[in-house]
Symmetry: C2
Subunit: 296 residues, 2 copies
């Protein structure tokens, strides 16, 4: 990835840039040596929903780099996203869903550009609903479907409906499955299609939101139709994430653990202990994948 690959010709005309939501000032876009010094060694950007989980991940990854101590939130002053740097990995919180993730993703893509990072890989680590799979299964996303069950990211740009491809690169999926999983892990890891919606309740066919205007039968028909398209998990980010990274020319992957099998119900009913254990599984997988990447 180089200066020329980000698909925005306007950036080369900007003398300064302010990554507003990260509160990072790029005072001279032609000389970004300070940004390069701070972030230039980054190989992997891990993004996940909550600040706490990303802090936990940073701590979990510290031994790879022989680092100890309390991770420092580099963007605390921005008040919106938590950013921890552990060796060559950046761990960033993105909040719930595409709207909040897309904001920080645009700014992270510009950050790795200004920092002149070499072939950075973006990996989302998260939780999701499963579709016909056991809770606790880890899903590495392949094609990402929107709430219309279409394998595209739909976005209004200048008032027009734009549809963009939304798939994750197969070579990264293969590497994650090959190097991230071990046969004695005690949990299943699969590659499958993912549905993303902007609404957790109505968008995902739940009947337990504040509003619901369909029947249980309608809902089950929808979920089965999704299953028929090879969709095995449902979350709120993969279509936007795969689409924007694809367009920006960077590699990306999504590794999520299912907390529930939506064919059996809507409410998350596992215990807090189970949830904690399940949430650890993508950590285990991504840690091994990162080690593989660094040793290449």
């Amino acid at each position: 990835m180089s200066f020329s690959t980000l698909k925005n010709p306007h950036l080369s005309e900007m003398k300064t840039d302010y990554l507003y939501h990260l509160n990072i000032d790029v005072t001279d876009t032609q000389n970004t040596s300070d940004i390069q010094q701070r972030f230039g060694d980054i190989k992997v950007i891990c993004a996940g929903g909550t600040a706490q989980r990303m802090r936990d991940l940073a701590i979990y990854l510290q031994p790879i780099f022989g680092i100890t101590g309390k991770p420092v939130d580099l963007c605390e002053s921005g008040h919106r996203y938590a950013v921890f740097k552990v060796g060559q990995v950046l761990c960033v919180s993105h909040g719930v869903g595409s709207s909040t993730f897309s904001v920080v993703l645009h700014e992270l893509l510009k950050l790795v550009r200004y920092a002149k990072c070499k072939d950075p890989v973006f990996v989302r680590i998260g939780t999701c609903g499963g579709l016909g799979i056991e809770p606790g299964t880890v899903v590495v996303s392949k094609d990402a479907y929107n709430g219309y069950l279409e394998n595209v990211h739909e976005i209004p740009i200048l008032g027009k409906r734009v549809e963009r491809p939304a798939s994750f690169p197969q070579d990264i999926i293969d590497d994650i499955l090959k190097f991230g999983a071990q046969s004695n892990d005690g949990f299943a890891i699969i590659s499958a299609n993912t549905m993303s919606t902007d609404c957790f309740y109505e968008g995902q066919g739940r009947t337990d939101g504040a509003v619901c205007e369909y029947t249980d039968e309608d809902k089950m028909n929808f979920l089965k139709k999704a299953y028929g398209k090879g969709i095995r998990n449902i979350e709120m980010e993969a279509t936007m994430f795969s689409s924007l990274t694809q367009l920006a020319g960077v590699k990306a992957a999504s590794i999520c653990v299912a907390l529930i099998n939506r064919l059996n119900g809507d409410q998350v009913s596992i215990t807090m202990e189970q949830k904690k254990e399940f949430e650890q599984r993508p950590f285990v997988v991504v840690e091994r994948y990162i080690k593989h990447l660094l040793n290449k």
Copy 2:
């Protein structure tokens, strides 16, 4: 607002409910006396982007109720949204954009239902981009437009495109302008239409994102078209927020301060001190409006 007004017949069939992202357990939906005791007195739910701003708002509102001390985050264990209760007001962080806000809004609507709150008013307090208005202007939203410049909230439900009305009730707007503003405040407050998008960069016609496939001229044409529809501010929540509250049968309002005039540029360039002062303005307005509501 009563049990019957939330538009979801399934809720009355649920014996228990778990407000997952708030980590609030409703152990018996037929007997919610504990929830009523904790939240039943709530008249106003203020929601805003960051946890810190909502904490600041809680502190700002304390004198109304003669309360002092450090506000406690009631939903810290959920790790996603911060919730502070100050007297009859709940101050809740919703993150950036509709995806994250809709999740907590569904759960808050169910919470006030279980708590049997009487006619609660939901008020979003935020920052936004302005359109043809001076930075620092406070905008009370009227009709909410999506990124296609349509005055509807578009949402995929069970794979189908659903369009819902997206306007804020005029009586609340009138009250906020009448009781929230004072002639010597030193800033303008207006009622106008609002555009909301799920993407801060391409969705709002910015040219400074990681990706941009249009020209400055295209962008200005789009912004002028929006201006022609009476849109004076742009943010990421109003269409979903007005639509879902309208459908759920609760009153709502959006009070946002503009940090920038988008007709003059894309980057936020005010100082941190100015930003702090601007962000205080919706606090001033909502505090007076809340006092009015409580004295009614």
